[in-house]
Amino acid sequence: MSTKIVDRKPLSFFENSYLPTLMSGLKVTWKHFKKSALQGRPLTMEYPEQKWVVPQGYRGAPYLVKDQEGSTKCVSCQLCEFVCPPKAIRITPPGPNGAPADRRNAEKAPAEFEINMLRCIFCGLCQEVCPEEAIFLQKDYSLTGESREEMVYGKAKLLQMGGTHGGIQKWKHKLEEAEAQEVFPVRTN
């Protein structure tokens, strides 16, 4: 008994003349025409000039970030490389004799860090897995380039696009704690 039969009223002579339909059609179209042509407020967003502002928590392109002191946060642990579903990340570790990290107490930093933006699916697993809060999905959603090579973003570019990320500076605190151990008597607070 869920069917409900709606009885249709027969149209009156006036309605049958199509005139009311014509009038309401004219009214609706004129309203929209006035809005977009005469008042210049079309709904279209003209893309390259006007861009959509993405909401908080939007998962755009993943970029590397720096800490407040301008040093690379990534420690080349390669967890993100491991977890990345489409294998978009490729990290070249510094190796036994590579350059040290650019901040004290951190063991190493990647010699090269590449994300192939053509492979990346913006899933956010790298951000999730990173123990250093070094990689974040940011708000860029339209990456373009003229060749495949150009779409593989290197470490320098990723760092530059990523900017700075405030937050706890794990290794700095460890360093402070370690230094505090050196003085006597031990600070207790």
């Binding site: 339909t21 179209t29 025409f33 809005k35 003209e46």
Partner: protein, 362 residues
């Protein structure tokens, strides 16, 4: 001019006609191109969009303020479209009936242009013998109806030639639509000619100059003619042969590139010629109430042509606007409207006109 005067009158006539034909053809083609643009722009505005606003040939960079404005209005879009149609691959599906497939676009486009021959688009230009009508036929309107109904053959033939179901349905619909509206259209015009007493379109214009626009004498005839014109030119709400949403593209589903463009041209040219007919028959042609004498100078002659074009443009906008106002009619509604309402109405109108002419104002 002197050399020209020495020529035989026949030669003069031929040269003048050739020039008129070339100009009318050129102007109509431009109109078609810009009618398409107008359609795209107006439809965009009605749907809250902006429409074509990017096409910019390199020269626009050197025009300071006007250039970007024209680009935003899409003024250069028709050129890009035309170029695109010319350069596209002309694909012929393997299973089509080749001869008819090639013939159909031509048959669709030619009648639309032929109608312009009898339409007086201005009074005179230069000397009083240069009438601004290509062929001043005494049976102008009969010619028009004869030619316009040829247009449907293009569509029917396209439907048949494509040898696939959607075009075929489109073709069939088109022919059915044509017979139901041609009659009503013809009958609506009969009343007009009863009032005027002449089949020459120039005479119709002269009559209206003296007695006021025909749309005031024969509003019912105008309404019927207008609606029938929508059906004749396959415009919404009567675009059943095409109906993108149900028949893919109707009769031109299988066509591509320039052949498709010809159908497109044909549709818009038909729209323009129908508007031109309406201007001539119902809106006083090139006259305005205070500008109805045939031109004595070149300037007035040009002004008359401008008046005609302005009226034409208004009607074209009506055509375009209605497309976005009303949804498509169902097939049976269309038939019902044609056979059961317009034909009786048009007949009644003829009768009423005859009675009024016989008894009230001879």
């Amino acid at each position: 001019m002197n050399l020209f005067d020495y020529l035989e009158p026949t030669t003069q006539f031929v040269i003048f006609s050739a020039i008129k034909i070339l100009i009318v053809f050129g102007v109509t083609m431009t109109f078609v191109a810009y009618a398409v643009l107008a359609e795209r722009k107006i439809s965009a505005w009605i749907q809250d969009r902006v429409g074509p606003n990017r096409t910019a040939p390199p020269i626009t960079k050197f025009i300071p303020i006007l250039g970007p404005m024209l680009v935003r209005l899409g003024i250069f879009q028709p050129m890009a479209d035309g170029l695109k149609f010319l350069l596209k691959e002309d694909f012929t599906p393997a299973y089509v009936r080749k001869v008819y497939f090639w013939l159909a676009p031509a048959i669709a486009v030619i009648p639309a242009f032929l109608t312009f021959a009898v339409i007086p688009f201005g009074s005179t230009l230069g000397n009083p013998d240069n009438k601004m009508v290509i062929a001043d036929l005494n049976v102008g309107v009969l010619y028009t109806f004869g030619i316009v109904s040829l247009g449907v053959y293009g569509i029917v033939l396209a439907g048949y030639a494509a040898n696939s179901k959607y075009p075929f349905l489109g073709g069939i619909r088109s022919s059915a639509q044509m017979i139901s509206y041609e009659i009503a259209m013809g009958m609506s015009v009969v009343a007009v000619f009863m009032v005027v007493g002449d089949l020459n379109l120039g005479a119709v214009v002269q009559y209206q100059a003296k007695h006021g626009w025909m749309v005031l004498h024969q509003p019912l005839a105008f309404a019927i003619f207008l609606i029938a014109a929508f059906a004749e030119t396959n415009r919404l709400p009567f675009d059943l042969p095409e109906s993108e949403s149900e028949l893919v593209g109707g009769y031109h589903t299988e066509y591509s590139s320039m052949k498709f463009a010809l159908f497109f041209l044909g549709e818009y040219a038909a729209m323009i010629s129908a508007s031109a007919m309406m201007v001539t028959l119902f809106f006083g042609g090139w006259t305005l109430p205070f500008l109805s004498e045939p031109a004595s100078s070149l300037l007035v002659g040009l002004l008359h042509i401008a008046i005609f074009i302005a009226k034409l443009v208004v009607l074209l906008v009506v055509f375009i606007w209605v497309r976005w106002m009303l949804p498509r009619f169902r097939y049976d509604q269309l038939m019902d409207l044609g056979w059961r309402r317009f034909i009786p109405l048009a007949l009644g109108n003829i009768l009423a006109t005859a009675l009024v002419l016989a008894f009230i104002s001879p």
